[in-house]
């Protein structure tokens, strides 16, 4: 059906288009530019073709090995974080009160970690995890556990995961809680009348109805964990060794530490591409599953 057309509407969109052009497209093109050129001395660039990309994707080269290692750590981190945060988030959401004055108070407390800026979170945990004065580190050490987040790779890895879980599980909780609240009371009542137990209610009513919000939660959490930077930067600095050197950490080291602009540019483009592709695959699989179940 045709609406009466009016082209003046484009004028209203123009400022946004301009903004996107300057904030995203132009910087992006600069990166593309760096990724296909090499630099000789001060500001003297020449064409380098796809050499940076071939180096990066070949694990035999030094930069290629670093990239492959960091990519594996990134994937492992995302999977670990999602496996903990999603079930935990749903579980917490199920336990929250549904009505009364406690609802608001509980939600605010739950949401608090999300309101703290990344670098502050890092700093909090840096102190919190110290074995001498940090509550967390001292407690673990006191229990006789071998814990040292700056020396021991396992401790460092666990600390980063725990920080992320602490910081972002509330997002899953809030989304799941909203999803649960949207289920009409009649469903619970019907289930009681049908004689269904708690577990049956969860499997047959709550989980299917949460499906849509969980797609969003998983997608958001995947993108965020895959781009993790601040926590390891502040708490472990990517160490010990390279145990917590994720792609973003490595990227900054190469770009700002070593000023290898070509390597860094090609790496950031590939990194970007992987994030987008994985998110797209995630999204497609989950919506396809949804459609298949409809049939």
């Amino acid at each position: 059906m045709d609406k009466p057309l009016n082209n003046r509407a484009w004028l209203l969109v123009a400022p946004v288009l301009l903004f996107v052009l300057f904030s995203a497209l132009l910087p992006m093109m600069t990166v593309v530019n760096y990724s296909v050129q090499d630099q000789m001395g001060e500001n003297h660039f020449f064409w380098n073709g796809d050499a940076w990309f071939r180096d990066l994707l070949n694990p035999a080269t030094e930069v290629g090995a670093r990239f492959a290692g960091a990519l594996v750590r990134n994937l492992a981190f995302s999977v670990t974080a999602l496996l903990i945060e999603v079930p935990l988030g749903i579980a917490v959401a199920l336990c929250l009160p549904r009505k009364g004055w406690t609802v608001g108070a509980t939600l605010v407390v739950i949401a608090l970690p999300m309101l703290i800026p990344w670098n502050v979170v890092g700093t909090i945990w840096q102190i919190f995890a110290r074995q001498d004065i940090g509550l967390f580190g001292a407690a673990l050490t006191g229990l006789g556990l071998h814990y040292n987040d700056t020396q021991d790779p396992v401790s460092a890895w666990c600390t980063i995961v725990i920080i992320d879980v602490w910081h972002w599980t509330p997002l899953v909780v809030l989304l799941s809680y909203a999803g649960l609240r949207a289920i009409p009371d009649a469903f619970y009542q019907a289930a009681r009348i049908d004689g269904a137990g708690r577990w049956a209610v969860f499997i047959n009513i709550e989980l299917p109805k949460l499906h849509k919000v969980l797609v969003i939660a998983i997608l958001l959490r995947f993108m965020q964990t895959f781009m993790i930077y601040t926590e390891p930067f502040v708490v472990t600095g990517g160490g010990p060794g390279n145990a917590t050197t994720f792609l973003s950490i490595d990227l900054v080291k190469i770009a700002l530490g070593q000023v290898d602009l070509g390597n860094a540019a090609s790496m950031s483009l590939i990194y970007n591409l992987i994030t987008i592709t994985l998110s797209w695959i995630f999204f497609t699989i989950m919506t396809q599953l949804d459609r298949r179940r409809e049939e």
Binding site: M1, D2, K3, P4, L5, N6
Partner: protein, 359 residues
């Protein structure tokens, strides 16, 4: 102002929603668009309002082509099925809103709002917010807003469909009276045959995006030009059966043959579609010229003043109307008598062959 649609068609996503519709509407008339859900009533109204543009064809106001002129430059008011009011404005301000947009002076606004409120019995509620009044009162508010606007074209899209039946009864009686004096072109879309009959004026029956028949309401009701028009204009649904006329009998498949009485006597031999409305079928005494079928009661749907009794016969289930509350129980054997003088007979293309008055 007069409004004309000329060969208007609408296609969306490769599907034709409106097929070549032509209609002429005169000022001060009540025009009913009668059709089931998705027949194209709302689409047609949106075209008249200028909310949408037809894919082909023209919309003319007073002979001038206005196809594509946006709605805000036309003199149109519309009332929707959902109660649409500004939730943060009082009933008074809701009614006044089109006048404020038109920048009328306060005294004039007040005069018009109070008059519309009086017509619709909203005077005691003027200070309330929409959520503080009932659904019926909310819809009255929306109608009052359509009135004060003083538009030349007033479109009412199933305005009573979301109200409960007693309120519907009251409002549908008042509506023709309320709008009669405005001199506007009224277009009223409904899915209910009874509503069309109560509104009077002229009726266009719609089916699958086409206008099947248009004319004075009672003429369309009593003399359908097509079987589809009779279907659209029947509630309870039109009773139908395939028949074959042979000499002086009519056959209903192999199962049943009856003498060709009434309107059926005069038609030439051949296959036809027999149709009749529920009110010319009875379970009581036979008519002077009767088609009588043995059957069993399937269900009595009771509305109070009337009962629609569904009867299962060897050739299908038919509905008849009984006065008052029927106490017939499902399963009871019975005889259904159809007034053969008033049945419709359609040929294979759905054109009327013999038309009784239809009741």
């Amino acid at each position: 102002m007069s409004l004309r649609l000329e060969n208007v068609s609408v296609t969306a996503g490769g599907r034709t929603i409106i097929h070549d519709v032509s209609l002429a509407l005169e000022p001060g008339t009540m025009n009913v668009l009668l059709g089931a859900t998705l027949a194209g009533k709302t689409t047609l109204m949106r075209l008249m309002a200028g909310l949408d543009k037809p894919t082909s064809g023209r919309v003319l106001i007073d002979g001038k082509d206005v196809t594509g002129v946006p709605v805000r430059r036309r003199s149109v008011a519309m009332v929707f099925q959902q109660f649409m009011n500004y939730p943060w404005l009082s009933v008074y301000e809701n009614i006044a809103s089109p006048l404020r947009v038109a920048r009328l002076n306060t005294a004039e606004i007040d005069r018009r709002v109070r008059r519309a409120a009086q017509l619709l019995g909203l005077e005691p509620l003027l200070d309330r917010l929409p959520q503080q009044i009932s659904g019926g009162q909310q819809q009255r508010t929306a109608i009052a807003r359509a009135i004060v606007k003083g538009a030349d074209l007033v479109l009412l899209d199933e305005p009573l469909a979301n109200l409960d039946y007693k309120l519907r009864e009251e409002l549908r009686e008042e509506l023709p009276r309320i709008f009669a004096e405005t001199g506007a072109i009224l277009v009223y879309a409904t899915a209910e045959p009874l509503e069309a009959l109560l509104l009077g004026g002229s009726t266009a029956t719609l089916s699958q995006g086409r206008i099947v028949q248009a004319g004075p309401t009672l003429a369309v009701y009593h003399r359908p030009s097509d079987i589809e028009s009779a279907r659209v204009f029947s509630d309870p649904p039109l009773n139908e059966s395939d028949i074959v006329k042979e000499d002086d009998v009519i056959r209903f498949g192999a199962a049943q043959a009856l003498p060709a009485a009434g309107a059926l006597a005069a038609i030439p031999p051949g296959p036809y579609r027999l149709a009749f409305r529920a009110d010319i079928a009875t379970l009581g005494a036979p008519w002077p010229a009767s088609l009588s079928l043995a059957g069993r009661i399937a269900l009595a749907e009771i509305s109070g003043s009337e009962s629609f009794v569904h009867v299962e016969t060897a050739i299908g289930t038919f509905v008849c109307v009984e006065r008052g509350v029927s106490t017939r129980q499902p399963g009871q054997p019975t005889s259904l008598h159809v007034d053969a003088a008033r049945v419709f007979v359609f040929d294979r293309d759905g054109r009327p062959v013999a038309a009784g008055s239809g009741g």
